[in-house]
């Protein structure tokens, strides 16, 4: 990604360089490079199993035991965390970097009061007394838009709705004002009206604190609503990355184009089949040679079957990169 476009003196809170992760020989994340700058929202988009969640877990230092980082660096606030010990990583988590995910109700401990869970997050990183922590937690409950924070503080998660639980989770994640927030499908489990509220809330809070937001999603509507920049992942690799506006205006990778095409349109006439992308996501243990997308790609030619295309900038826009031999012809796909 185009780091050079910005002053190199001010490093982004999260910089991932050439990150590779494998699980039992399958390269689930392969050479991912990603920056999230302060106050910026970057959307990481792709189908299930494309490696976006694995990328997030690698950043958190919480990969499952079977997964191993092969190479690359992850820098959080300037320090390389791939070389850090677990206890150092533990201090970063919740303090400098936090993550929320999609199951808001089951993500809260059912046997702990909501307030205690927020206080716990604060006290594990800050040396302050119980009373101050309690006040901060109540203020945070208020800031995430939950009415009557004093009462909610004393309630258990089962007494809250899904949307409220998601707000509590956001409160827990942001109570230490982390530099980076990773949100893995934060609104998938919520209904549409609540989704919009939660997204608005996340935007407001991250704008306020300058938190860098890495938003992992497969919902292009959410991307359009939230993202400053977008990185599209396919089969472990980033295939296209661009500022959100540029990406929606013009795609330079067939996968992105087809992915955008799958969004059902309200103005569709009569009964039409929902558009789909032909074929299935490849088995990560038996990846196709050459471009990993070629078996499903309408533009695939002989070269695609032999050589994997590198991520290259568009001639007219250095911020718009894609990994396709036929990037200029992507617009031809209906």
């Amino acid at each position: 990604m185009s780091v050079t476009a910005r002053a190199p003196t001010e490093e982004a809170p999260l910089t991932v360089r050439d990150l590779s992760v494998h699980i039992e020989g399958a390269p689930v994340v392969d050479g991912v490079t990603l920056d999230v700058r302060a106050g910026e929202t970057v959307a990481l988009v792709g189908e299930s199993g494309c490696g976006k969640s694995m990328t997030a877990l690698a950043v958190m230092g919480l990969l499952p035991p079977a997964a191993h980082v092969d190479g690359g660096t992850i820098r959080i606030n300037g320090s390389d965390t791939t070389r850090q010990a677990e206890h150092a990583m533990q201090r970063l988590r919740g303090d400098k970097i936090a993550m929320i995910f999609q199951e808001p109700v089951s993500s809260l401990n059912p046997l702990m009061r909501v307030g205690a869970q927020i206080v716990e997050a604060l006290l594990s990183h800050r040396r302050i007394d119980q009373q101050a922590a309690r006040r901060a937690a109540i203020e945070m409950i208020d800031r995430v838009g939950i009415p009557d924070p004093e009462t909610r503080f004393r309630q258990y998660p089962f007494e809250l709705s899904g949307g409220m639980c998601q707000r509590v989770m956001i409160a827990i994640a942001l109570i230490c004002e982390p530099a980076i927030l990773i949100a893995d499908e934060p609104t998938t489990a919520l209904d549409v009206t609540i989704q919009a509220q939660i997204l608005d809330l996340m935007r407001a809070l991250t704008d306020e604190t300058g938190t860098a937001l890495l938003l992992i999603t497969h919902d292009m509507g959410v991307v359009a609503d939230m993202a400053d920049r977008v990185a599209v992942m396919y089969a472990g690799r980033i295939v296209e990355t661009a500022p959100a506006r540029a990406l929606f205006a013009r795609q330079r990778h067939p996968y992105t184009r087809l992915l955008l095409g799958t969004i059902p349109k309200v103005e569709g006439q009569g009964r039409t089949l929902l558009p789909t992308i032909e074929g299935v996501v490849p088995d990560m243990r038996e990846l196709p040679v050459g471009c990993r997308f070629h078996p499903r790609c309408p533009l695939a030619g002989p070269r695609c079957r032999q050589e994997a295309p590198p991520l290259a900038a568009a001639p007219d826009d250095p911020a718009h990169e894609s990994a396709c031999w036929f990037a200029d012809r992507v617009g031809e796909i209906a």
Binding site: Q90, R93, G94, I100, L108, M112, A121, I172
Partner: protein, 292 residues
């Protein structure tokens, strides 16, 4: 729509309904509590000194009065008051069972949780030891260990604790394993909770239910094991009163003085039955894996 709405049905009903399944268990809870009280207050409840012998009043039947002293349950082969000995025996049974359950639970739960959290070599090491322990007949294992350590109350507790922890380890392991991938445990880790805190605050409280069920059922078994070891002369040593050793003595006189064997046996039966029924009830209530 201006008419005032009636309060929603069921909303204003603070009466907590008693669980129906609890009712048949209530008498057994009472029996258990009775044994617990008897054990706690044995010195005040026992009518006689359980150790004082009366060689002229040996093997007296229940209700007999010897020189102005009534022996409600009769006397044993040394003329000691059987009721007092049974009361002091309750003390031994409850003490041994409670202590061995507590010790084995702490060891087993801690090891089981660690195995599930760290997996890998630690899991293999701990859980294979568990498998080995569980494959040996428990009473045999206890006998062998007593043979090495020697009999006595403290040793019985140690033996039972050291042979029974694998059951807790296995349950704690399985429960923790199913919890570590629960979103709230993952989230707790994502916000920087340390491993001890994760285990103590987020995992342990959520596996207490199934552990309690095992502990209750184990309690009954521990009472039985203590009695069994004492019956074989490997448990509590004379002159200390234990239901098991009293039963063993009673075995010699069963034709002529049936009461010596009957009353400790009856107590064992009632205590273990009530503990097991309480355990079954708790399992129905607490264990998420058992369906009604």
């Amino acid at each position: 729509m201006s008419a005032p709405l009636p309060p929603p049905a069921g909303a204003s009903r603070p009466v907590r309904r008693i669980d129906r399944r609890l009712i048949p268990v209530l008498p057994f809870i009472a029996v258990f509590l009775l044994f617990a009280i008897v054990a706690l207050f044995a010195p005040w409840l026992a009518p006689q000194n359980p150790y004082s012998q009366d060689l002229l009043g040996r093997l007296r039947p229940p209700g007999d009065v010897v020189r102005g002293t009534a022996y409600l349950l009769g006397t044993d082969e040394l003329g000691r008051d059987l009721l007092s000995r049974v009361i002091y025996g309750a003390r031994v049974s409850m003490l041994v069972a409670t202590l061995s359950v507590v010790v084995s639970l702490v060891i087993g739960v801690a090891l089981g949780m660690l195995a599930a959290l760290f997996r890998g070599a630690i899991e293999i090491l701990i859980m294979r030891i568990v498998d080995v322990f569980l494959s040996i007949p428990p009473i045999l294992l206890a006998i062998i260990t007593v043979a090495v350590l020697g009999p006595g109350l403290i040793n019985v507790v140690l033996v039972l604790a050291l042979t029974r922890w694998p059951r807790y380890a296995r349950v704690a392991f399985g429960q923790t394993l199913s919890l570590v991938n629960q979103p709230y445990v993952r989230f707790a880790r994502h916000i920087g909770n340390s491993t001890p805190r994760l285990l103590w605050r987020h995992i342990l409280p959520n596996i207490v239910g199934p552990i309690t069920v095992v502990a209750t059922l184990e309690f009954g078994l521990m009472v039985l094991f203590e009695a069994g070891l004492s019956f074989l002369g490997l448990g509590v040593q004379p002159p200390m009163a234990s239901w098991g050793s009293t039963l063993n003595v009673g075995r010699n006189y069963v034709a002529t003085a049936w009461w010596i064997a009957l009353f400790p046996g009856l107590c064992l039966f009632l205590l273990i039955l009530s503990v097991n029924l309480i355990g079954d009830y708790l399992r129905d209530r607490l264990d998420p894996t058992s369906k009604r």
